[in-house]
Structure formats: structure tokens, C-alpha cells
Symmetry: C2
Subunit: 336 residues, 2 copies
DNA sequence: CTAGTATTTGACAACGTTGTCAATAGATGG
DNA sequence: CCATCTATTGACAACGTTGTCAAATACTAG
């Protein structure tokens, strides 16, 4: 690799002069500058960031620890949002994935701290509580899409309550009074908080809460192919004497399966039943017919917000709720 | 930040001795070693990789340039696969995303080269041709999920032909003779290659190719919500005098929409019609009923393979086709 | 106890930069 | 033409490591 000294030799100047040219120091004679630039181009010289870093004690690197974040569809937007802001500040992201502890959190953090990351982002792939490794506190850090009890880290999480509220409110506005809710596994924060939002919207509309309308859509967490449960959930809800006319589905997959269940029974979303949901899976929601109205998780925005907070130092520790986007398609409307 | 010298002072030894302890040099008296380790722990010392790198001219960093890779569901597995292998070799990944040229390919590569990445991975989020920036050639580089004409870079791409062949073969094995194919946009490599595989399977089974059975499922690339086309495609295929009894769908979304179209017409997948597809969207395929048999893109494997090839230097440039996984659920079977 | 050897430790240079300060060259004014 | 000033350039140290080699210490045998 070519160094500043080789360039200096080639241009017939001292290496300090080359340094000046590289850093756009104005105190260089034009003629000299040209000669140096020529040499730089000829040798294809590139400054060595490691050496630079040694001098000014700044790595320009921000660590991004993800908890399998990229396997979850679109949770990768978190990374992209963060990356975008980082890059605006001329920082680069060093990404480590701690999936199944294969790499090991400890080693991941060591790696990043040895590389003198200027800050750390810890991102989870779904909204949950995490144990923050103590080492993270040595460096400005933020939590994204996860939170820690008793910790003092700035935290960015999606506003689940608001999302539950919005999903329900859209249906209430259409005049529905009986709204079924197929929930996620109750171990999940999202499930609990969204239900809270659902109840809040109901209360605000003066409709009393009926526990019969709440059915769990899956039994164990993230169990793929557990479609039987949504099937059962829909059956159970439609069996009620006072049937729901609208459904809030815990995620787009549930909605998709519900569409099928309705279809089997001769019911049609958009005509007989209104539906809202969560996630805005781009592979599902727009493809359903009618298009699924759904609350999109603010992954990108959380990534951006987290990175921004890193650059706006001095803020005290806060927990910031980032709002979902309400993606209105047609499934929440009934036309007749 | 605490340096080796401060540790040395604390332990009352020369900094060189600390260096030895840090690097597990056996030539240190046990008593001294213990004293140094104590000091290291007390001061929470961590070696500085930048300084280390200056000495041995190795950054330990591998650049990962992605072309929006993480926005595509599960394409992020590419990153994870790569990360896993890198980490086994004690390397860390520096990730730059070049989405919409917002950052700029040039700047991204400059950033990485200034940081003296030991190799570069260029990953695309869907299988396509790319223009490789010349600068990439300065460092060992591989292409993943994309390819470049006239270039001499080792390339890892999914074996689309084989996937098309497998998807078709599964149906042929069940005795189907008329197999409809709803294709992706023909601009896409995947579309063309999978059709090739489809034809190959047909030919091998002695069934003549009928262009009427091939219908395009979308008009423009990646146009979200373009569901009308799958609707039309299914209608068109079912209108044929000699109706297909099985469908190869270009992606799981198509399959999902086809399920709905069949359902509307009183046809049921698994009873009247067999279906195979591509992608194994974990949010769709297992949730359909019957479960969708689909060809899973080998994202993770491509990431691994790419990174492995970086560590197994000396290989000549090759293009390696990575096989899809055949995910057999029930949709390709008819029970009656 | 001494010489000789083996073990343990330390001094110093180097990696590629940038900051500090001194040296040189060119320009200005008398 | 000399003194002074300014613009331009260069020498050197330092950042935190590790490799090389020499110095110091401990150990062994006679």
C-alpha cells in the first residue's frame, strides 16, 4: 500500500507537504499542490484511516449490534435508517450480528470497543426487553426496538399503544361496535400494548370492553405454520351470538389467514367484514384483495432517530416512542 | 482511553512486557503476568486495533457493499451468512448500503478502501447484472447475487435454472401434464432462467412446451399492489380449453393471490390444483393452507460461500451457482 | 563462588498520519 | 542592497502497538 512518504518522494517534496495537500491546507503554493496531486493520482494514493485515527483519536466508526435484526423482514430498514444518518456525518457502521449467541455478545462488544467505536447502537429484531451488557455503557449508546429495565440508555421503541389505538379507531370511525381482536402471543410486548390501545379506543368511543372478542392467534412464540390457531380464532369469534363486524389482526399473516377463513364462509372483506392489521408486510398487504389496511412499524425512522440522537449529544436519557405509519388501503372500509 | 503504557506504569513494568502479556507470549514470568493482568483489569484496558493494524498492516475488516440488500425480506440472510464466516476468521464486517445512490458508490468504496478493508463483498438484493466499480479490483472481491459481464470477479448467484426445474419436476412427478407458469417480469434474470428450467423439466418428461401456459404475473418491476395481473393470469390460464392442473408461481405473493383466485372459483389447492412457487417467504408460505411448497433462495448460503471464497484465496475466478432449497409442504400434492 | 547458560525484561524503531514549530525562500519597503 | 515580513516548506514528535535485539536477571554446573 502506498503511503504519504512515497507520494512525497515522487513529487519531490516533504511528506508533510503531501499531508497538507491531502487535507486541503491553503498554505501550499499552487504549483506545488498540482505536482503533489499528480503524484497522488499516479500512485493511486489513499490516506490510511487507521493512522489518521491514531493521531486524532477518532475512529469514525459506530457499532451496530443487532439481535438477528436482519432476518426479520424489513427490520433491516433499521440498519438502513441508521446507516443513512451515520453517513451524513461521515461515519461508517460496523455491524455485528449476535444470532443465537453463536458469536457471543461479549466477543462482539469486545471487537467493537477494541476498534474504538464512537458509539453503539443495540437493535433488536422485535420489540422486547433486553439485558444490556455493562460494557456498552463505556461508550455513548442507544437501544432501538428494545428496552432495558433499570438502565439509563436512551431508547427508541415503536409506539405500540398508539398503533393499537389507531388500528381500532379506523374501524370505530366506520361505525363498527363489535370489533374482534386476534392477538399475538401475550409474551410479546407488542401484544399487550396494542391491546391497551384497542381498549383505549373503545373506551373513548364509549363502547364497553368484551373479553370474548379477544382471541389469541398463536400459541407459542413465532411458531411458523401455526395457522390452525388463526383458523380457530376466527371460528370462535364468528360463533359468538353477537358477531363482530370488524377485526383487528395482530399481524398481516393473521389477516391473510383470516381472509381465507372468511372466504371459506362466504364472507368477503370489504363487503361483510372490515379488517385492520399490523406490519405492512410488503409481500402480503398490498397483494390481498381488498388491500390490507395496516400499521407499519417505523423501522427506518427508529434507525434514523437513534443515530440522530447519537450525534445530538447532551440529551438526557429518554425513551422515545416512534409512531407507526397508518397505511390505509381498503380493508377497513365497507362498501355496500 | 487507557493505553499499554498506562498499564505498564500501574504494573511497574515496561510497556513491552504488557504487550507480551496481552499477546499471550509464554516468555513472561508467572508472577509478572499476574501483576500485569491485574493492572489490565483494574484499568479496564483494551488493545487498540488501529495501532495494532499499523504495525501488522492488517485491518481485520471486510467491506460489505449492499445494494439495498437489507430491505428485501430475508435478503439480509446474505449479510448474516457472510458475517458468520467472517467472524469465524476473526474479521469484522463494515457495511455500507448504496441505496438510491444516496451515499454514492464512489464514496462508499473510498470509505472502505481508506479503512484498508482486506476484501470486498458486493451484494445485490435481487439477482441481476451490475457494473462493477474499477476500484473494487484493488482488493480481493466477490460478487453475490449479482454478476458482471466481462469482469473477472468470483461470483455467487442462485441457480435459477435448477430452481425452475425443481419447481416443475415436483409437479411432473405427481403426474401433471399441463402446468401453468405465472412468471415474474421478464426483465429479471430469475424470470428467464426459471422458465428455462421449466422447459428443461418438461422436455425431459417428454411433454411439449405450450406457450399458452406461460403468463406474466406483473407488468412493471416490483410494482407493489399489482395484483390485477395475477388475477388476470389465473383467469387466462383457467380459460384454456385444455386447462392446467398445476401452477408454478413466480413468487409466493403470486401463489397467495392465486390461492384466492382459485378459492373464488370453488377450486381448492391440494384437491383440485397443485402449486409450487419460489421464495419461501416465511410470512406467507407456511401460513397458506395447504402450506406452500416453494423454492427457497439460498441467501444465507451465498453469504457464507462468498465469505469462504475470500478466505480460500488462490482460487481462480469462478461463477458458482448456489442451489435453492426445495421446501416441500403440501401444495404440490393432490389428495383425493 | 564463578562461569556459563537460560530465562525474563526492556530500549528502540517502525507503521502512516497530523500538530508544532523552526527554517527557508520570496517579496516589500526604505 | 539590506532589513523585515510573509508565504511556503520541512524536521520532528507523537498517537498505541509489535518486532528486533540487547541487557539484566535467575539458574545450573563445576
Amino acid at each position: 500500500m502506498v503511503s504519504i512518504k512515497q507520494v512525497a518522494k515522487q513529487a519531490g517534496v516533504s511528506f508533510k507537504t503531501v499531508s497538507r495537500v491531502v487535507n486541503n491546507d491553503p498554505n501550499v503554493r499552487e504549483e506545488t499542490r498540482a505536482r503533489v496531486q499528480e503524484a497522488i493520482a499516479a500512485l493511486n494514493y489513499r490516506p490510511n484511516r487507521a493512522a489518521r485515527m491514531m493521531r486524532n483519536q477518532q475512529s469514525g466508526v459506530i457499532g451496530f449490534i443487532s439481535d438477528e435484526v436482519v432476518t426479520q423482514p424489513y427490520a433491516g430498514d433499521l440498519l438502513i435508517g441508521a446507516q443513512e444518518v451515520a453517513s451524513q456525518h461521515d461515519k461508517v457502521l460496523m455491524v455485528v450480528n449476535i444470532e443465537n449467541d453463536r458469536i457471543g455478545r461479549q466477543r462482539a462488544i469486545d471487537m467493537l470497543l477494541e476498534r474504538r467505536v464512537e458509539a453503539l447502537v443495540y437493535a433488536s429484531y422485535y420489540h422486547k426487553e433486553v439485558q444490556v451488557p455493562q460494557e456498552m455503557l463505556q461508550v455513548p449508546s442507544v437501544l432501538v426496538n428494545c428496552y432495558a429495565e433499570n438502565e439509563t440508555l436512551t431508547t427508541f421503541i415503536p409506539d405500540e399503544v398508539q398503533a393499537g389505538y389507531d388500528a381500532t379507531r379506523l374501524l370505530l370511525e366506520q361505525g363498527h361496535k363489535r370489533i374482534g381482536h386476534i392477538t399475538l402471543n401475550p409474551d410479546i410486548v407488542a401484544s399487550v400494548k396494542r391491546l391497551e390501545g384497542y381498549r383505549k379506543a373503545l373506551a373513548e368511543a364509549g363502547i364497553s370492553y368484551d373479553p370474548q372478542l379477544i382471541v389469541q392467534g398463536e400459541s407459542r412464540f413465532d411458531e411458523a405454520g401455526d395457522s390452525a390457531s388463526v383458523e380457530k380464532a376466527v371460528a370462535e369469534l364468528l360463533k359468538l351470538t353477537h358477531q363482530p363486524t370488524a377485526f383487528v389482526c395482530g399481524k398481516d399473516e393473521f389477516a391473510m389467514q383470516a381472509y381465507f377463513e372468511f372466504s371459506k364462509r362466504g364472507l368477503q372483506v370489504g363487503r361483510d367484514i372490515a379488517v385492520t392489521s399490523f406490519d405492512n408486510q410488503r409481500m402480503i398487504a398490498p397483494g390481498l384483495s381488498p388491500g390490507l389496511t395496516t400499521m407499519a412499524l417505523p423501522h427506518f425512522e427508529m434507525g434514523q432517530a437513534a443515530m440522530n440522537s447519537i450525534f445530538n449529544q447532551g440529551d438526557d436519557m429518554v425513551t422515545r416512542l416512534i409512531p407507526f405509519s397508518v397505511i390505509e388501503r381498503q380493508s377497513h372500509l365497507l362498501k355496500n
